[in-house]
Each structure stands twice: as structure tokens, then as C-alpha cells.
Amino acid sequence: MKVLAAMSGGVDSAVAAARAVEAGHEVVGVHLALSRNAGTLRTGSRGCCTIEDSMDAQRACNVLGIPYYVWDFSDRFKEQVVEDFVAEYQAGRTPNPCMRCNERIKFAALLEKALAMGFDAVCTGHYASLLTDEAGNLELHRSNELAKDQSYVLGVLNAEQLAHSMFPLGAEASKADVRAEADRRGLAVANKTDSYDICFIPEGDTQDWLTEKVGGKAPGQIIDVDGNVLGKHEGSYGFTVGQRKGLRIGKPAPDGNPRYVLSISPKTNTVVVGPQAALAVSEIAGARYTWCGIAPTKVDEFFDIGVQVRAHGEEVPAQAAVIDGELVIRLNQPIIGVAPGQTAVLYAGTRVLGQTTIDRTVSAVAGDLEALAENVAAQA
């Protein structure tokens, strides 16, 4: 096969490309330029967009003896990932930009361009495995190395995308194995630091970056679940559901327990806070859902699934069904730390079934916080 290896400049994609070469494929390495003003040197744990990363990717390709090119997706990345990220925060949601990048850049723009140019597949260094079921359908499964498993961020891939994807690190690899293998293969990135921060936020401080992007202060109220006004904020985009620090509410809660952001209402520019228990969510739902590979046969009645709502979150048992065009997920036990904008990925065992971007959540105890925020705003 003619394989395009997406090379970030990191150790995982370098080893993935090496394995694709070894498997006998005709491999070409491509680095995605995602920033128009790429920094010269990499700093800390941020992303893959510096010139140093590009040079690392090129060096790996040279060592592997494969061609190397840089493709510029910076305009598309800005439009479809960065601007989406800002818009989601402005709408009071908590987006996952890596998910969007996979959905819209790596397995869309890059894959489409690769296919147009005669490639058969795109290969990446994700920790996940592709298996084939008895009928020959492709299935995406978790990596056995659960600490590194990246099936969650690949949950957005549909059957067509899976058919043109290749994850040579597969189910078996552990990070230590991959680093050792890189070292054995003479790849200088063997000991390169992992990246885990959002690549386009320079100092790793999302709130500061958002303030700069969104600009201008937009003061609003901070209220509790009973509708009492507790304080003011400088802009609701600066908050994330589940946030505890930086609320700057002078007086403590009557019971002395810390308060958390429960909901953000951009419509009324109101932030609702309350006890940790009130963060518990019993149901999540979203209309923007996709099936990863072949869709389940009967989806209009609730069926058992596992659901994961964060890249490094735990999987919890739940029931899912499609009701009125919306994928509704009822959690067997309420969970905390889930907010609109996040992605819920559905699992059946180790298999990724599909995903949805969460449009709404139902609090297990506090009722409809959006309506509460509107009532308080109307009174003020």
C-alpha cells in the first residue's frame, strides 16, 4: 500500500512510520504545519507545531529512508479547530480541540488530500488498534496499555475513515516499548518529551489565552443553586464546569464546603456555582453523534454501553439510545466532571462504538440550571 505517515516530530509517529515501512508499505512522511507563525524551538510539553518538531520529523524520515514533506493546513486548522475552540468557550461549553483536529484535519483534510494524491491510507502514532469482525467490518479497539490508550480521541472516525487509517502501534505497545524501539532504530526522538498541552496555546494557560482572544471584559453574575447572587465575574468564557479555583467569591458557603462551577449560561452571562455533589450528572445527550465503523443495529431502544467523557477519564456503565435525533446516554451512576462541549465516546467492551459532542447534561440533584440562571437574570 501507499501509506502517508503523519509525522508530528514525536516518538510515537516516528515508530509507527518505521513499522509501516517494515511491513513493506511504500511510506511517505508528512508533517502538518498547523501554525502560520511557528515558534523556532519547542518549549515544554506543548504540541507539535514548532520548526524544531518539523526538523525532528524530517530527521526521523531521513533515518527511515522515506521521503518527507510538509503540508500547510494552518488556515484550515485556524478556522476549524482554533476558532471552533474559542466559539465553544464563548458558548459556555468545554471543547476538546484534539478531537476536532482528528475529525476535521488529520482524518478529513489530510486524508482527503492523501487519497486524492493516490495514497491508500494515513498512518498515525495513536495507541489504538483496528480489528476486523467476522463479517470483515473494521472495528476500532482500545489499546491494552490503558494509560496511553488513545481510542477516545479517535472515536470521531467513521467507517470510511477507518478503512483508510493505520495505527501500527496497535493494542500491544507500551510507551516504554515504543521509546526502546525508537532507540534501537536510531531515532533521535526516542527520549523526546511527550506533548499533552493544547498545541496552539503558547504558555499553556487556557484562561489567559482565551481572555486575549475573546478580548474585552464582559462582567456578569455568579449565583448559587438557590438563585442568590454571590459575586461578579469578568466574563463567563473564563470558566469551566467543575472549576473550583479562581471563582473569587468572598464569603464561604454556609456549610463551609468549597463551591464549584455547575453551569455557564452565555445567554444571560451567568455562572452558577454549588457544592460538589451538585456536579453529578445523570444523563447526557447530543445531536452531533457518529458511529465508529458499523453502526449498532437497533438504536431506538436503550442498550448497554460503557461511556468515557474525557481523554483520560474512566469508562462508566450506561444505557444509550437515539431519541428524536439525539443520542441520549443515561448513566447507571451519576458522574461528575462532565460539561457540554465535551465528547462522550461509547464503548462495547474494548470496541469503540461511536461518539457524540455533548449538547446538554441533566444534573442529578440541582435540576435545570439554565432556567434558574434565566430567572435570576430576569429579576435583576
Binding site: A33, I51, P67, Y69, V70, A116, M117
Partner: protein, 393 residues
């Protein structure tokens, strides 16, 4: 196997140059040393200087060896700007064009953005038409109005991307009427069209070795004897107190030999290249419907063909040709491999998209008809793939 059609980026070392160069590498001695070893090394440098002066049509004392074209351009522009501005503080204008090589453009922008506000350069970039030509009458008008404020003119002899050749001698003649010095980056022109410093009337001219079959790391700035420059780097003043650093004797020798060889074969190569260019253009037109030849109606280097393919991202064509074993370019080499829109095509009034849909094919001393045939053989599939990639974008 692989076909190399990117000589404007760098050209393979000529066999006779390689022989001399590898033999010379064993040379012991710093040309600036007093002892016999130093004197023998100095002999190599001065032989090279005389030979190169002969080839370039200048006096040997006018050649300042540098590390290459970029250093020559920086010394020319900064050195002349500072000297002229020091002599008369009113002189802050630099006349140039947006299609210059980045070695010139970046130096200009640096002068525009650094130093005390009242000493910073002001740029006057000549307007270019769709063929990349400027109007001499515009230049004359500007000179007549502002010559007291003009520090220098810097206009390239031939464009490294499109191959468009500018009437440098006419520019010099015009500028001389107003006593304004002219620099020309002749890196792309040397070896492909006749370049004679004395005939050109220039004050300064940049040339480079590796574009004409010498190794990378040697170039020269030709500085007319009556032109004052402020040095840019300091440390011994080895070259006429204008350029410091141990002289690259071996490189200078290789450069002089390559320049002499290029000069001796110029006419026959120009004839051959013109024929290859015609073959390539008519072949491309037969194979691909929407190919456009840049600046076809003006004078261009016989060794450079610049083509646009509407709807086909240039980077995709380049990648697909490379994967088929044919090396061409989008123009200037780019940072970290990102191929953006051509600043030259933008300067010629093309849209951002149109300026991203072009490729440059450039010939060198060892280019053959077979190379052009292989390019044409690979073109249809590359074009088709790039068109699909363009549709997918």
C-alpha cells in the same frame, strides 16, 4: 534514475571544479599569514580573484569574497545604506521591488525596522506589471523628484523564481544621471545570461558560486572602486577592510573555475536551454489544458521555466513529481518545508491562490533533453493528482 531540474536552487558541482576543489582541500596555510604556507594560499586566492574579475568584467580589487549571495546582499544593502546615510542624513530612501530574493527583502525590512527612528530606511518598492516588469519612466520620475533622499537602488538582474531579466544597464544609466548608486543581485543571472560588471554601470553586484557548479560557501560582492561601504561584520578586515573572516582560498578557486567554465559555455548552453525550454513548454501545453507560462512575453532566463496550473496546488504537483523521481521547485526555498504562496507572483499582482499554483523548472550545465522528456512523462499524473487534491481542499 532521478531527474534534477532545480538548478536555480543549487547546481551540481562541475567535474573539473570537483577535481580542483578536492585537490586544493589539502592546501595548508592561511592566506593572511606571512610565511611561505600563507603565501602559497594567498597565491590561490589571488589567482582566483584575477580569473573571476576577468569573467565578471571588473577589476580584481573590486572583488570581495563572501560566504555566498546572502552575505553579499547584506553587505551591499546595509553597507551602502549606512555609508550614504552617514554622508547625508537626508538619504533614507531605498528603491527596490517586492519580487527581490529574501536575502535582499529581509535586509531591507531590517533596515526599515531597526535603529534610531530618524535613521531608519524608507522603502520605495517599484510597481510591477503582470510580467514582473517595472516601468523605467516611473523610476526616472521618482529619481527626478527624490534623488536627494535616495540612499541606493537595489534591483535584481534576473529573478530567481520566474527568470524575468531586468534592464540593469538602463537602470544604472538612469541612476547615474542623478548620482544614485545601484546594487544588483546577479546570483540568478550569472552563468545564464551575459553579466559584465563594467558594462552594467553598477556600483555593487552580488554573485554566488553554488548556482553555477562551485561548492556552497563561496560568493562575492563586486564593489566598484569609488564606492564606500560600512562593513557589516568585524574581525580583521581581510577583504579590503569590508569583509572579515579567514579567506576561503579553496572555495574562491573553485568559484573562479566554475565561473570561467560557465562563461565559456554560455552561448551554446543558452541555445540549448532555449530549445529545451520550448520543448518543455509546448510539451506541457499538449499534455495539460490549463497551463500558463509566466512572463512569456518578456525577456527571461533561457534556463528557467515558470509554469502555473490553475486549480492545482503547487506543493501537490511538486510532491507528486518528486515521488515520480523528478525534482522541481516552487521557487525560493522555504522555512521548515512549508510551501506558501510565491511572494514573487504576489508582487506581480497574482491572487494568493494563483501564487500557490506554480512551479519552477530550472536547467543547469548537465541538463539533457532526456531530463525534459522525463519531466513531461511524469507531468500528466502529477497534474491529475494535484487537481484532485485541489478539489479536495
Amino acid at each position: 534514475m532521478a531527474v534534477y531540474l532545480d538548478h536555480a536552487a543549487t547546481s551540481p558541482i562541475r567535474p573539473e571544479v570537483l577535481l580542483r576543489y578536492t585537490a586544493d582541500l589539502a592546501l595548508v596555510g592561511n592566506p593572511s599569514s606571512v610565511h611561505g604556507f600563507g603565501q602559497r594560499a594567498r597565491m590561490v586566492v589571488e589567482d582566483a580573484r584575477e580569473s573571476l574579475a576577468d569573467t565578471l568584467g571588473c577589476h580584481r580589487s573590486e572583488i570581495i569574497f563572501t560566504s555566498g549571495g546572502t552575505e553579499a546582499d547584506n553587505l551591499a544593502i546595509k553597507g551602502l545604506f549606512w555609508a550614504r546615510n552617514n554622508a547625508d542624513a537626508r538619504r533614507r530612501l531605498i528603491v527596490s521591488a517586492a519580487s527581490e530574493h529574501h536575502a535582499v527583502l529581509d535586509a531591507l525590512e531590517w533596515l526599515e525596522g531597526h535603529g534610531p527612528a530618524e535613521q531608519r530606511a524608507q522603502l520605495h518598492l517599484l510597481e510591477l506589471d503582470a510580467n514582473g516588469m517595472f516601468d523605467l519612466a516611473d523610476l526616472e520620475k521618482f529619481l527626478a523628484e527624490r534623488s536627494d533622499e535616495i540612499a541606493l537602488i537595489s534591483l535584481m538582474w534576473a529573478n530567481n523564481e520566474t527568470g524575468v531579466v531586468w534592464p540593469i544597464a538602463e537602470v544604472s544609466k538612469l541612476a547615474a544621471k542623478f548620482a544614485v548608486p545601484v546594487h544588483s543581485d546577479a546570483v540568478a543571472a550569472l552563468g545564464h545570461v551575459p553579466v559584465d560588471f563594467a558594462d552594467s554601470g553598477l556600483s555593487l553586484m552580488s554573485v554566488s558560486g553554488h548556482k553555477i557548479g562551485a561548492p556552497v560557501g563561496i560568493g562575492a560582492l563586486v564593489v566598484r572602486r569609488d564606492v564606500n561601504l560600512v562593513p557589516v561584520n568585524h574581525g580583521g578586515g581581510h577583504e579590503r577592510k569590508l569583509r572579515s573572516g579567514t579567506l576561503n582560498a579553496v572555495g574562491a578557486s573553485a568559484f573562479a573555475l566554475a565561473a570561467a567554465a560557465a562563461s565559456a559555455t554560455l552561448q551554446e548552453r543558452a541555445k540549448r536551454d532555449s530549445a529545451l525550454k520550448q520543448k518543455l513548454i509546448s510539451g506541457a501545453r499538449n499534455l495539460v489544458s490549463n497551463v500558463e507560462v509566466t512572463a512569456e512575453s518578456v525577456s527571461t532566463l533561457p534556463s528557467t521555466v515558470h509554469l502555473s496550473f490553475a486549480g492545482c496546488p503547487g506543493d501537490s504537483i511538486l510532491v507528486l513529481l518528486d515521488m515520480a523521481g523528478v525534482a522541481v521547485s516552487n521557487g525560493a526555498a522555504c522555512q521548515a518545508g512549508v510551501i506558501g504562496a510565491s511572494h514573487v507572483m504576489l508582487a506581480m499582482g497574482r491572487s494568493e491562490q494563483a501564487a500557490s499554483e506554480c512551479i519552477r523548472i530550472s536547467f543547469g550545465y548537465d541538463t539533457t533533453e532526456r531530463d525534459v522528456e522525463e519531466f513531461l512523462a511524469a507531468l500528466p499524473a502529477a497534474y491529475e493528482g494535484a487537481r484532485k487534491a485541489g478539489d479536495a481542499a
